[in-house]
Structure formats: structure tokens, C-alpha cells
């Protein structure tokens, strides 16, 4: 199927910076998020969490809780529905193998041990505060260094977790220039604005769940399995999300607890995690310790990379932060050894967080290349260019569409890179040191099978439906744009419905794959509906287009017309009425083929950053950032730009302030609120600009689109750390770069 040849006359909406079609509903409050589900008089459930990291419950005293007026019941392992163990798999993606509330065992601080169910939110909270849980506690293992159990997974998500090629040890030893450094990144939390929420209701043996999930069908599958139901008996609804970033991607215990509570009380139950609970109830990014060894020639050409990554995981689930993934494919290096290890600790299970693997990996690798540039006395951008990989070194396959060199060029020009003095501490503005840094961004282009339905109604309506999601990213808008172009209808006149497991199948909103997966399915469905409309319009007696051939017709203004005589036109609603079946309904689908056997699909980018540093006060700020991205076709210039700006802001947070701190003795998160877990505020964000090298990747899918959700954060922390080096002359290899680390580094010079 070629994307352009058989395209009907379009209005070219794809690509335009169209305002979000759901914007009005959001700013007026009409958009209903999970916790706003229109369910009359639900009960409210509040979670009670373990306050030890390792041990067991020896007693639960519910008396004071049950004495609170309005408390209906207390759900604990004594009365919870028995649920089978739920090992993670891609059809039922539960993050924790142990279902919640099944036994007295405590595997991490924050584990859900009870839910208090009450007539009001206030009563549920008051009751939860009064629940007395007594524990028998053992000393927890909380630090990856020296952990008793360290595993080396062979594979992770279908990829080799220990990739190797050539003879990296020997090539490293033989190299003229060697870098051997360790980089560390802390635990980080996703912190979407909308906390996770579930409203669960049982109706005639069917379970209906309004849930803030990035994967309605995955959530449905786990719930069905847990309660021994057919999937058709479970419906999961998530029309809007206030961000997710991965913490709503896989399945976590709270929807199960809400459904158990609804079953126990035979009433609908609403459960909203608190901000504090979000730090321990739905995953986080694992800390990483990354040793990187680079061997290169004196002119900065890489000969070997050895990248050893130590992350963490829990005792109840597995997630591997594959920070070494980028190392295997980003640069043209003949000899590579990447290892991933995970230390099993008494902590909650980490999960995917915006660019899992790539975010911390691109930090370490991006810094190491900058160190190489310094060691060789070469401009860092030149080192990146010199090691550019024309084919994917991990597979030997050519890239489908790679324009990274163009990103470097355009970025360097727009940023003014050529005026950068090579030596550190060479730029000042007033009392502040100024530094510039650069690093490479990358993220794989992923795609999954998806379907969509397009329905043209007799009233002229155009409906698009798919079980995909809008995390606040613009999915509603781009799907409307895609259908609009196929049908010749204004995108604002199209009703897009998503986030319902009963809609045509779509994958998890993860891996930046929704646009590339669902977009082509919507295109296919719209095209089928368009063809059917033509078939009716050219064959029905009363149609002004009666007797014309398909190629003599084009779309226009919500209907069809003759190319030669534009006044011969008919609206879609009229065509539907002529067709007599009440509606034109088309199911479209799209799926990857065997192109992955021939080509490697990745997005790329270049991140340029300027920092300013007040050396006396150790005050560091990012004053300027520019990202230039090669992500295939851009479907909406406005929402795409916003995504990238958001990614860069995330990168600034990652570099300078974000850190989830656990109490070193007992494992409780002590930064479980926005006063202690710092994300950038407006005043931290100065000038950010985004450019796209827009080359449609038509080998990937007929729209030529790759994903844009995650690449924006990659490389930012490295570019910032590199800019800090350029400003100060000291290397900071441990994130976040907070004042005490800058002071210590200065003192050590």
C-alpha cells in the first residue's frame, strides 16, 4: 500500500499545528477522568500501606476503624478474594506476581495491606488512619551494592540483555585512548498530574472498571484472569489520562483491590491513590550504576565499548532498566560488551518510565563520549559525527530512515555551536560561568497490530473508535486529522472515541508506538469507509454521482464530488441515507510486516544545552535548550512540539533535581511529595526550542510516522552534565547534579 498514490483529495490536515480537539472539554471540566466516572453513589476505598519493608503481619486491629461512622468494611488478606499468582506476560501484564491482600507476607514498604471502604472519602481516610497493623519485621536489603541476589537476565522484552560483538576487552586494552568511568542515576518517579484511580462496578456478573490506565486491554486481561472471567465480561474504560509516563502502563494492585472491594460490598467502589502512595504503588525508575569503558583512537574513533549496568528489582516482580541498550546500536563500534544485572531488594517493583533504559543509558553514554572528546582534544560534536553509524551495528541492517547528521548540522547552526571555545571555564556572563553541551537522542521505532472503526452516520457524523489512549499527548487530535485527510472532513467535525476495551484492538500506550500503530489503522478504516461511500454514491439511483467511476471522484467538505464537475456533490450523510443501511461502518487494521527483517527502525535527535553557573553559591540553571529530532512524519506540529518540550523539561528535572530518596534503614520513601521530590517549576525553564528534520519513514508504515513520546528526554541529562563540565571544568557523573555535589567536585579540584 503506498501512502500517496491512492490518496483521495485531502485537505492536508495531517501535519498542521491544529489545537487539541479535546482541549475545550479539558479546560471546561467536561472531560471525565477515571475518578470522575459518572457512577452514582460509589463507596470510597482508601489504601493502607505496609510501614515495614520485610516481614509479616502479625495482627490487624480493625475495631477503631469499624467504629468510624460511614465505614462499611475493611478489606485485608483475611477476607479478600483469592486470586491466582499473576506472572508477568504481554497478554496479562501484571507488574507484581503476587496478587494483593493474599497473605500476611510483606515484601516492601508501601505494600498494600488493607483497604478501608466507606460511604464517604472522609470516613474512608479517617478509618484508614485508625487501622492498627502489627508487624514482625526483618532487616531489609535496600541497596544494590552488596545485594545477596544479583541476576543477569538473558533477555528482556525480546531483546538480548547481554549483547556482545567482537573482542571488546582486547580492543579496549589496545586502544590509544581509554575512558573508564562510573555513572549513577537515582530512583525517579513518574509523577503524572493525575494520580492513579479506579472506579469498579459489578453488574450482573460483569465487571466494569473506569481506570487511569495506559492499556485498557491489558488491564482487562489481568482483571479477567484474576477473577476467572471471560474477557468479554470485563470492560475497562479510560477516555482521558492526566499523564502516565509508564506508571499506568502495566497492571498494579489497586484496580484489583477496587474490584475486590466492589465485590465484597456489592456496590461500586472508587479508589484514588494519594500522591504519597503514587511513590510506592505504581512503579518508578530503578536507580542505575553504570560502568562505561570506551576505547578509541587518538582522533576519537571508538574501538570498543564495555557497558556494565546494575539496576534493581523487587522480590515480587521484575523490571530491567536496560540502560545499555543504546550502547549496542548508537555508534559505529566494532567491539561491544553490554551487561545488565539486577539486584533483588526489599523494595517495590520498578517499571518503565519515559524512555526506560534510554534515559539513564543515554546519560552515561553521552557523558562518556564527551569525556572522550576532552581526552582527545576534539570538539564533542565532532566526536559524535565521527562515530556516526550508517547501519545499525547491533543487527547489521540499514536504518530505514536516519537523518541524525542533519540533526547535528541544523542544531549546531541554530545553537551557534561553532563559536564554542573548546576549553572549559572559557565563557562567562556577568558573575556566572557559562557552558555548552551536546548529546545524542535516540529511541527505537516500535509498532504493534491495531484496529480502528470508522462510522459515517446518516446525520453526517463521522465517528472514529479504537481502544487506544490519550495521555494528554494529542491522540484524539491526530486520529481526527488522519481520518479527516482520508475523508475530506474537517477534523473538528470528527468524533474520536478511545480508551475503551470494547473498541477495536490497540496496544499499550507505551514504547512511543501508539501513533505508528493506531494511526495507520485509522487511515485504513477511513479509506475503507471512503471507498464504500463512493460505491454507494456511484451506484445509487438518486445520487448526483451516479454512474461515475471511482477515479472520477474526490472528497470535499464532508462529502464527495465529481473531479470534473465540482458542482456535482453529495454529503456523506446523504450517501448513508441512499445506502439504506443506517450507517457506513468500516473496520480498518494495520500491522507490521516483515520489514523488520530488512531494516532497522529508530528515531534520533541532537540535544544542545546551555547552563549558567554561579560558582560561589553552587547555583546551576539551564538557560537554553534546543532539541532537533528525526522522528519520521510529524502528524501535528503543535502537539509534537509540546511533547518534545515536555521531554526536555523532564531531562532538566532528571539532570538537576529529581530523586526519590528512601530511608536507608527501613525503606520508606521520605521524598513522597512535591515539596521534597523536585520537578522543574516554570522559573527553572528558560528558552527551549524544538526543530524537526521531517523525513517520513514510509518503510515503517504508510503514514511515515515514528513515535515521539519518549525520545525528547533522551540525551538531555548528558548534554546538561557536559555543559556543566564545559562551564566549570568538573565532571559530575552522579545524578541529580545538586549543590552539594558541585561543591564537593569543586573542593576536589
Amino acid at each position: 500500500m503506498s501512502a500517496t498514490a491512492e490518496r483521495p483529495a485531502t485537505r492536508g490536515f495531517v501535519g498542521l499545528p491544529i489545537d487539541r480537539v479535546d482541549g475545550h472539554a479539558k479546560v471546561t471540566g467536561a472531560a471525565r477522568y477515571a475518578a470522575d466516572a459518572p457512577i452514582a453513589a460509589p463507596l470510597h476505598a482508601t489504601i493502607v500501606q505496609a510501614t515495614i519493608a520485610c516481614g509479616r503481619i502479625i495482627a490487624i486491629d480493625e475495631r477503631a476503624t469499624r467504629a468510624v461512622e460511614g465505614v462499611v468494611d475493611v478489606l485485608t488478606y483475611h477476607n479478600a478474594t483469592r486470586i491466582p499468582a499473576l506472572p508477568f506476560d504481554f497478554t496479562a501484564p501484571s507488574s507484581e506476581e503476587l496478587a494483593p491482600l493474599q497473605s500476611d507476607e510483606i515484601k516492601y514498604d508501601g505494600q498494600h495491606v488493607a483497604a478501608v471502604i466507606a460511604e464517604t472519602f472522609e470516613a474512608a481516610r479517617a478509618g484508614a488512619a485508625l487501622l492498627r497493623v502489627e508487624y514482625e519485621s526483618r532487616a531489609p536489603e535496600l541497596s544494590p551494592g552488596g545485594a545477596r541476589t544479583v541476576e543477569q537476565p538473558e533477555q528482556w522484552f525480546g531483546s538480548d540483555a547481554q549483547p556482545r560483538r567482537g573482542d571488546p576487552e582486547r580492543a579496549f586494552e589496545a586502544a590509544g585512548v581509554r575512558i573508564d568511568q562510573t555513572y549513577t542515576t537515582p530512583i525517579e518517579n513518574h509523577n503524572p498530574l493525575e494520580p492513579s484511580a479506579t472506579v469498579a462496578e459489578w453488574r450482573d456478573g460483569e465487571l466494569i472498571v473506569h481506570d487511569s490506565t495506559q492499556w485498557v486491554r491489558g488491564t482487562r486481561a489481568v482483571l479477567a484472569k484474576s477473577f476467572g472471567l471471560d474477557e468479554e465480561k470485563v470492560r475497562v474504560i479510560a477516555p482521558y489520562l492526566g499523564g502516565g509516563f509508564g506508571c499506568k502502563g502495566f497492571f498494579w494492585p489497586h484496580p484489583l483491590i477496587a474490584a475486590m472491594a466492589a465485590k465484597l460490598t456489592n456496590r461500586p467502589v472508587k479508589l484514588v491513590l494519594t500522591r504519597e502512595q503514587m511513590f510506592t504503588s505504581c512503579g518508578y525508575r530503578s536507580e542505575t550504576r553504570q560502568r562505561l569503558r570506551l576505547g578509541a583512537t587518538r582522533d576519537g574513533r571508538l574501538q570498543a565499548i564495555l557497558h556494565d549496568v546494575l539496576g534493581t528489582s523487587s522480590r515480587v516482580g521484575t523490571f530491567v532498566e536496560t540502560a545499555g541498550g543504546v550502547t549496542a546500536m548508537l555508534f559505529d563500534v566494532p567491539n561491544i560488551a553490554v551487561t545488565h544485572s539486577i539486584a533483588r531488594l526489599d523494595v517495590p517493583t520498578p517499571t518503565a518510565m519515559r524512555a526506560p533504559g534510554e534515559a539513564p543509558g543515554s546519560f552515561a553514554l553521552g557523558c562518556a563520549l564527551d569525556e572522550l572528546a576532552s581526552a582527545c582534544g576534539i570538539d564533542p560534536l565532532d566526536v559524535l559525527r565521527r562515530n556516526h553509524a550508517a547501519v545499525d551495528p547491533s543487527s547489521g541492517l540499514p536504518f530505514s530512515s536516519k537523518h541524525l547528521l542533519a540533526c547535528y548540522e541544523r542544531g549546531a547552526e541554530a545553537f551557534g555551536w561553532s563559536t564554542r571555545p573548546q576549553a572549559p571555564r572559557a565563557m562567562r556572563d556577568g558573575g556566572e560561568l557559562v557552558g555548552w553541551g551536546v548529546a545524542t537522542a535516540t529511541y527505537p521505532a516500535l509498532r504493534s497490530p491495531a484496529q480502528a472503526r470508522v462510522v459515517l452516520g446518516a446525520d453526517g457524523s463521522v465517528d472514529v473508535a479504537s481502544a487506544t489512549h490519550d495521555l494528554g499527548t494529542g491522540m484524539y487530535t491526530i486520529l481526527a486529522q488522519i481520518a479527516a485527510d482520508e475523508l475530506g472532513v474537517d477534523p473538528r467535525a470528527i468524533r474520536v472515541r478511545i480508551g475503551d476495551s470494547s473498541f477495536p484492538i490497540a496496544p499499550v500506550a507505551g514504547g512511543s508506538m501508539s501513533s505508528a500503530s493506531v494511526g495507520p489503522a485509522v487511515q485504513d478504516a477511513a479509506r475503507r469507509a471512503y471507498r464504500e461511500a463512493i460505491a454507494i454514491a456511484t451506484s445509487a439511483g438518486g445520487s448526483p454521482l451516479h454512474g461515475l467511476g471511482e477515479d472520477e471522484i474526490e472528497a470535499c467538505d464532508g462529502g464527495l464530488r465529481s473531479k470534473r464537475e465540482p458542482s456535482r456533490a453529495i454529503a456523506y450523510g446523504e450517501i448513508v441515507r441512499l445506502g439504506g443501511s443506517g450507517a457506513i461502518e468500516a473496520l480498518g487494521s494495520a500491522a507490521p510486516g516483515d520489514e523488520g527483517e530488512r531494516l532497522s527502525f529508530h528515531s534520533f535527535g541532537a540535544q544542545f544545552v546551555e547552563v549558567r553557573y554561579d560558582e560561589e553559591l553552587a547555583r546551576l540553571r539551564v538557560s537554553r535548550a534546543l532539541g532537533v529530532f528525526d522522528c519520521g512524519r510529524i502528524l501535528n506540529a503543535k502537539t509534537a512540539r509540546s511533547q518534545m518540550i515536555g521531554g526536555i523539561v523532564w531531562g532538566i528535572g532528571m539532570a538537576l533535581m529529581e530523586e526519590t530518596v528512601r530511608d536507608p534503614r527501613a525503606g520508606a520513601v521520605v521524598t513522597n511529595n512535591f515539596a521534597d521530590y523536585h520537578v522543574p517549576v516554570n522559573a527553572d525553564i528558560a528558552a527551549i526550542d524544538v526543530l524537526f528534520v521531517e523525513e517520513p519513514d514510509l518503510a515503517f508504515n504508510p503514514l511515515g510516522v515514528r513515535g515521539i513520546g519518549e525520545i525528547g528526554i533522551t540525551g538531555v541529562a548528558a548534554a546538561i552534565a557536559n555543559a556543566v563540565y564545559h562551564a566549570t571544568g568538573v565532571r559530575l557523573r552522579d545524578l541529580p547534579i545538586v549543590p552539594e555535589k558541585l561543591l564537593a567536585a569543586q573542593a576536589a579540584v
Binding site: A129, L617, A618, M657, D663, V670, A675, V681, D684
Partner: protein, 327 residues
């Protein structure tokens, strides 16, 4: 949150009577701190007495300076021309506090009474002598990056969170209190008390005492004052370290000096040694550096917060250069 009663006081006398009748009653002004703590289960009042209808909002000039009503909003005080002109340190400290939304709710009296942000204090499942006397201090050997480097005790090493109080300390503010025995005044420096062996006690106020106003005496030093706040991000964060500096320099010599520190102690902290190193000396870089060094005297870190001592020295130096006009 527990069930609690709420009453709106018509006048100071009825507000105080309501508290006198109930040892678990509390005043509520802007509510930005007390409600927060109630949600966490840290404060569990039986009764909230809303004092926002009392006529204590005025910001008035007096013969000796400015008198700020206890219920004046942080935002109104920050924007008041007399404050900005005669006490720049106070306006700057307020504008560096919290967020515009919070400043539009929060009051001056409430700000002085706000409680520490120590994570262990705010989490009822943790040990904290301030919240639950006798349970121990989890911070001393725990996560203590934001904790005190001076003035703490084996019972408590929290920091006082207010920026305003630090600024007020540098202009010799006086707190007006109405208690059972009538009105009294307390110099701000004696208003907050160090934890010692009773960390649950934070000020000299008795249950039911009502702050009515804060008096700011006019002075040349106050007119030449400056607030410097060092923190991880540019806004909306409590201080890692802050400095309020006020200096009167005449004929090249320092005639009056105040240096107060925030983020370093369980109370707003007056750096007397730094002031002594300034008084009567020439306003030179050498004097300021010596005073900055003196400001750190007696400070001791607990590991994660050692860096604050270095920051204090540098921030005091910077603030003094600013008010000494030799930046």
C-alpha cells in the same frame, strides 16, 4: 483526617475563650499549614477557630516604623510600598516564599507559627520526638540533607521553614501577643525556642495566645537589607540555606549589622558572631569574608547536610557584599 469542629471567631476575646475551653483547639488563619498537617494526621485538633474575621489585617505606619497585623496576607505585605522601601529584606523573603497562590492565602502570624517540613515529622509512621515525644529522632541517622547544622539537640535536628521569620529577625521585629494576662511583646529573637529536650515546644506562646501584630522598627540597616535564598530549584522550594543581611554603613564603617540565617537551625538563626565581626569595622571584602567565616562557627553537619556549612559561608559573604555595595 479526623472529624473536628469549626467555629468562626467574631473577636479576639471569643477566639481566645474558645481555645481556653479546649486544650485541643487550634486557631486557623490561612490554613495552608494547619490543614496540610491535619491531612497527614500530624495535627489532630478537636476544634478549629477561624480567626480570619478579626480586624488584624492592617499594615500601618507608626511613629517608630511599621506595624503589620497578624492576619495580613503574605502577598499584601510583600507588595506594600513601605515594606518594599524600608524593609526590602522582608519583601524579598516573602516573594521568595511558597507560591503566589499560597501567599494570597497565608498570613504573617501563621507563617511564624508554621511547623517544620522534616519528612519524619510529617509521616506519622516514623519516629519523631517533636510529634510523638520519646519516640526518637529518625533524622539524626537518617535522611538529613535538609536538617539543621546548628541549634539542634539529640532530640531534634529539624529546621524552621519560614523565610519571613529570618528576614524579620534581621530587622529586630517585635511580636505582639495577646494572652490571658493581656497584651505583651516578644522580640522575634526570643519568640522561637530551640528544641533541647522538649522539641514539641517551638515558641514561647502558651495555648490560646494570639499573635496580633508584628512590629518592624525603622532603621538605616533595615532600609539597606537583602534576602538571599539558596535552593535546588529557582522557585517554590524551602531554603537549603538563606541569609538576611542588614547593614548600616557610614563613613566607610559598619555602624549596625544584622545577619540572620534560614534553613540551618530549628529556629530562625541569628548569627551573632558574624555581626560582631562586622560592627565598627570597615565595609570591605576582608571584613565580609571574616564575618562569613564567623557565621559558621559552631556549626556541625550530620553527613548529608555538611554542605550547608560551606553554603552558609558563601551565602553570607554574597549577601554582605550586596548590602555593602561592593558586589
Amino acid at each position: 483526617m479526623n472529624a473536628f469542629r469549626y467555629a468562626q471567631a467574631r473577636d479576639a476575646a471569643s477566639a481566645m475563650a474558645a481555645l481556653a475551653a479546649d486544650p485541643r483547639a487550634r486557631y486557623i488563619a490561612g490554613g495552608t499549614n494547619v490543614v496540610d498537617l491535619m491531612k497527614e494526621g500530624v495535627e489532630r485538633p478537636s476544634l478549629l477557630v477561624d480567626i480570619t474575621q478579626l480586624p488584624l489585617r492592617g499594615i500601618d505606619r507608626t511613629a517608630t516604623g511599621v506595624r503589620v497585623g497578624a492576619l495580613a496576607l503574605m502577598s499584601d505585605v510583600a507588595d506594600h510600598p513601605a515594606i518594599a522601601r524600608d524593609y526590602p529584606v522582608v519583601a524579598q523573603a516573602l516573594l521568595a516564599s511558597a507560591s503566589p497562590q499560597l501567599r494570597n492565602m497565608a498570613t504573617i502570624g501563621g507563617n511564624l507559627m508554621q511547623r517544620t517540613r522534616c519528612a519524619y515529622f510529617r509521616d506519622v509512621s516514623q519516629h519523631c520526638n517533636k510529634r510523638a515525644p520519646g519516640t526518637g529522632c529518625a533524622a539524626i541517622s537518617g535522611v538529613n540533607r535538609r536538617h539543621a547544622v546548628v541549634g539542634g539537640s539529640e532530640q531534634c535536628i529539624c529546621t524552621h521553614a519560614s523565610d519571613l521569620a529570618v528576614a524579620l529577625l534581621s530587622v529586630d521585629a517585635i511580636v505582639h501577643v495577646r494572652g490571658r494576662a493581656g497584651e505583651r511583646t516578644v522580640p522575634l529573637e526570643r519568640f522561637h525556642v530551640l528544641p533541647g529536650s522538649t522539641p514539641q515546644r517551638e515558641t514561647v506562646l502558651e495555648h490560646g495566645d494570639l499573635i496580633t501584630a508584628v512590629e518592624l522598627p525603622a532603621s538605616a540597616a533595615a532600609r539597606n537589607s537583602y534576602y538571599l535564598k539558596v535552593r535546588d530549584r529557582a522557585s517554590y522550594e524551602f531554603a537549603l540555606v538563606s541569609v538576611a543581611a542588614a547593614l548600616n554603613v557610614a563613613g566607610g564603617r559598619i555602624r549596625a549589622a544584622r545577619v540572620a540565617l534560614g534553613g540551618v537551625a530549628p529556629t530562625p538563626w541569628r548569627a551573632h558572631a558574624a555581626e560582631a565581626a562586622l560592627l565598627g569595622r570597615p565595609a570591605t571584602g576582608g571584613t565580609f569574608a571574616a564575618a562569613a567565616e564567623a557565621a559558621t562557627r559552631g556549626m556541625k553537619g550530620y553527613g548529608q547536610n555538611d554542605f550547608k556549612i560551606v553554603l552558609v559561608r558563601r551565602a553570607v559573604n554574597r549577601a554582605l557584599q550586596h548590602v555593602g555595595a561592593i558586589a
